[in-house]
C-alpha cells in the first residue's frame, strides 16, 4: 500500500515538473508527434501517396515511439535526478523508473484521447480489435521499463550512458519502420529490422489501429518473451548494483 502511495506521489511530481515552466503544458504531449508527422509528410511525400492512410500509419508509430523514448530518456536520469530523496528517505529506488512509466502512460492516455478523435478522418475504425492495445501496451511498458531500469542503473556509475542514449536514439528511430513501411526495406537488410526489438512492439500496437485486425499469436509470443526476458535481465543487473547507488549519485 505504501508502495502505491509513493509511486503515485512520484508520478505526480514528474507530471508537475515536466511542464512546470512551459506555456502550453501537457499539450506538448501531442504537439510533438504532430510536428514529426508534418515533417514526415513533407519528406516522405513520394511514399505518402503509395501507402493508404499514411497519416494513420505514421501516427500510430510515432505516438508509441515517443512513449518508449520518453520513458527511456527520463528513466535513465531518474536515479541521478532524485539523489536528494534517495539519500534521505527510505524508499525502494526501483520506484523512480517505474514512476516514469506511469507518467508516460498518463501522457500517452491524453495523446491517444486526442488522436483517436482526430484519426476518424484518416481511416481509423472503431472496433473491438482496438482493445488489444491494452495488453500490447502492458508488454511494451514492461519492455520500456526494463530498458530504462538497465540503462538508468548503469548511468549511476557512468554518466556516459545518458549521453550515449541521446546519440543512439535517432538511429534507433530510423531503424524502426515508423515513417516508412516494411515493404520499402530491401530484403537483404530485412534481418536488421527483425533484430530491432522495438519493431515488434510497434507492429503489435499498430496492427489493431492501422489494419483493424488482431495481432498474430506468434507476434504476441515474440513480444511476451522479449518483455519477460528483458525485465528479468534488467532486474538482475539492478539488484547487483543498487546497494552502491547512494555513493555514486
Amino acid at each position: 500500500m505504501q508502495f502505491l502511495i509513493q509511486l503515485y506521489a512520484l508520478s505526480k511530481r514528474n507530471v508537475i515538473l515536466r511542464y512546470k515552466h512551459s506555456l502550453i503544458g501537457f499539450l506538448w504531449g501531442f504537439i510533438k508527434p504532430l510536428i514529426y508527422l508534418f515533417i514526415f509528410i513533407v519528406i516522405f511525400s513520394a511514399q505518402f501517396s503509395t501507402v493508404s492512410h499514411y497519416v494513420l500509419y505514421a501516427t500510430s508509430g510515432i505516438i508509441f515511439w515517443f512513449f518508449f523514448s520518453n520513458i527511456v530518456s527520463q528513466g535513465i536520469q531518474s536515479f541521478v535526478l532524485s539523489a536528494g530523496i534517495i539519500k534521505s528517505v527510505q524508499i525502494p529506488v526501483i520506484l523512480f523508473p517505474l514512476a516514469e512509466v506511469l507518467t508516460e502512460l498518463f501522457n500517452l492516455g491524453l495523446a491517444l484521447g486526442v488522436y483517436f478523435t482526430l484519426m476518424q478522418w484518416f481511416g481509423l475504425q472503431y472496433t473491438f480489435v482496438l482493445l488489444w492495445l491494452l495488453p500490447a501496451l502492458f508488454l511494451f511498458s514492461m519492455f520500456a521499463f526494463s530498458v530504462a531500469l538497465f540503462l538508468g542503473t548503469l548511468n549511476v556509475y557512468f554518466r556516459d550512458i545518458g549521453i550515449l542514449w541521446n546519440t543512439v536514439q535517432p538511429a534507433l528511430f530510423y531503424l524502426t519502420p515508423i515513417a516508412y513501411t516494411e515493404a520499402l526495406i530491401p530484403s537483404r537488410f530485412a534481418f536488421v529490422i527483425r533484430f530491432n526489438p522495438i519493431y515488434h512492439y510497434i507492429k503489435l500496437l499498430r496492427v489493431p489501429i492501422y489494419e483493424s485486425i488482431s495481432p498474430s499469436p506468434l507476434l504476441w509470443l515474440h513480444c511476451s518473451a522479449l518483455s519477460i526476458c528483458s525485465l528479468g535481465f534488467a532486474l538482475f543487473i539492478f539488484h547487483q548494483l543498487k546497494n552502491q547507488f547512494i555513493t555514486s549519485i
Binding site: A9, R13, G84, Q90, D160, N243, T247
Partner: protein
C-alpha cells in the same frame, strides 16, 4: 528499558567511480579498474536504549552522515548487523528530499506521501503552523528559499511524523534564534514523551544539552563512546 538501535561490527564500504578522466594517465589507469573501494565506516558497534538520545561528533568527512543513513536503513552495511526496533523519521539535513522546482506546499504533499503518510489538510496545516512560513512563501518554488527557510520546512515536515527515533544532521544552526528555540523545546517535549534522537552537530554545547550519550568518530572508526559531557570535552580538546 528496551533497545532501540543496535549496531554490531558494522562496516560500510563504497565502490567509487574514478571516472572523470582528466589526463592521459587517468585514462589508462581507469581502464585497469574504474572502481576503487573505500571504507567509510569500520567496525562500528553501538547500542541505544529507547528514550535515550545520542550525540555524534567528529571532524568533517569522518562518516557521521553515513552512520545516520545506516541507522535510518537507507544504506545497508557491507558487513555486520544494524538492527532497529522502532520507526524512524526521515533524516533532517538541509533541504533533504526537497524538490527544488516544486513549491513549498507541493513539497509537503510529496514528502508526506513518500513517507507513506496521508497528506490530509490537518497534517499540512500543522506543518505550515510549525514552520511559521507564510502562504506566499509556501507557494514559491523551494529553490528561492534561504537556508533558514529550508531548515524551517524540513524540520516542520520531519517533526510532524510520529516516530520512535528522530535524526538530525547539522541543521539547527541555520535557523534564526526564535526557530532554534522552538525546535529545542519541541525536541525536549518529544524526549519527555519517550522519543529518541540521533544528533549530529559541530557544537558540543548543543550536544551536551540534548543528549545523555555521545560517540566520537574519526576516519570511520568509533574512537570513543560515553556520556555526552565526557565526549564533548574530548571533542573540544581535539581542536585546542
Amino acid at each position: 528499558m528496551s533497545v532501540l538501535i543496535e549496531l554490531h561490527k558494522v562496516h560500510i564500504r563504497y565502490r567509487t567511480n574514478r571516472a572523470g578522466i582528466h589526463s592521459v594517465k587517468d585514462f589508462f589507469t581507469s581502464w585497469v579498474n574504474p572502481f576503487q573501494t573505500t571504507s567509510i565506516l569500520k567496525d562500528i558497534s553501538l547500542r541505544l536504549e529507547k528514550g535515550q538520545s545520542l550525540g555524534i561528533l567528529g571532524r568533517n568527512g569522518c562518516g557521521k552522515s553515513t552512520l545516520l543513513r545506516a541507522v535510518a536503513g537507507i544504506i545497508k552495511p557491507s558487513s555486520g548487523q544494524c538492527i532497529r526496533r522502532g520507526t524512524v523519521a526521515p533524516i533532517l539535513a538541509l533541504g533533504a528530499g526537497l524538490e527544488l522546482e516544486l513549491s513549498g506546499y507541493e513539497n509537503i504533499r510529496l514528502l508526506l506521501a513518500l513517507y507513506g503518510k496521508k497528506a490530509s489538510p490537518e497534517a499540512i496545516e500543522a506543518i505550515v503552523q510549525f514552520s511559521e512560513l507564510d502562504d506566499a512563501t509556501l507557494q514559491q518554488a523551494v529553490k528561492c528559499y534561504s537556508s533558514g527557510m529550508l531548515a524551517r520546512l524540513t524540520f516542520s515536515i520531519s517533526f510532524s511524523q510520529d516516530c520512535d527515533l528522530y535524526i538530525i544532521d547539522e541543521v539547527m544552526a541555520v535557523g534564526d534564534m526564535g526557530f532554534q528555540g522552538k525546535c529545542k523545546s519541541r525536541i525536549r517535549a518529544l524526549q519527555d514523551a519517550g522519543k529518541s534522537f540521533l544528533f549530529v552537530s559541530h557544537f558540543p554545547d548543543e550536544v551536551e544539552k540534548i543528549c545523555e550519550q555521545a560517540v566520537l568518530l574519526d576516519e570511520g572508526r568509533l574512537i570513543q563512546q560515553g556520556s555526552a559531557t565526557e565526549i564533548c570535552q574530548h571533542y573540544r580538546n581535539l581542536f585546542m
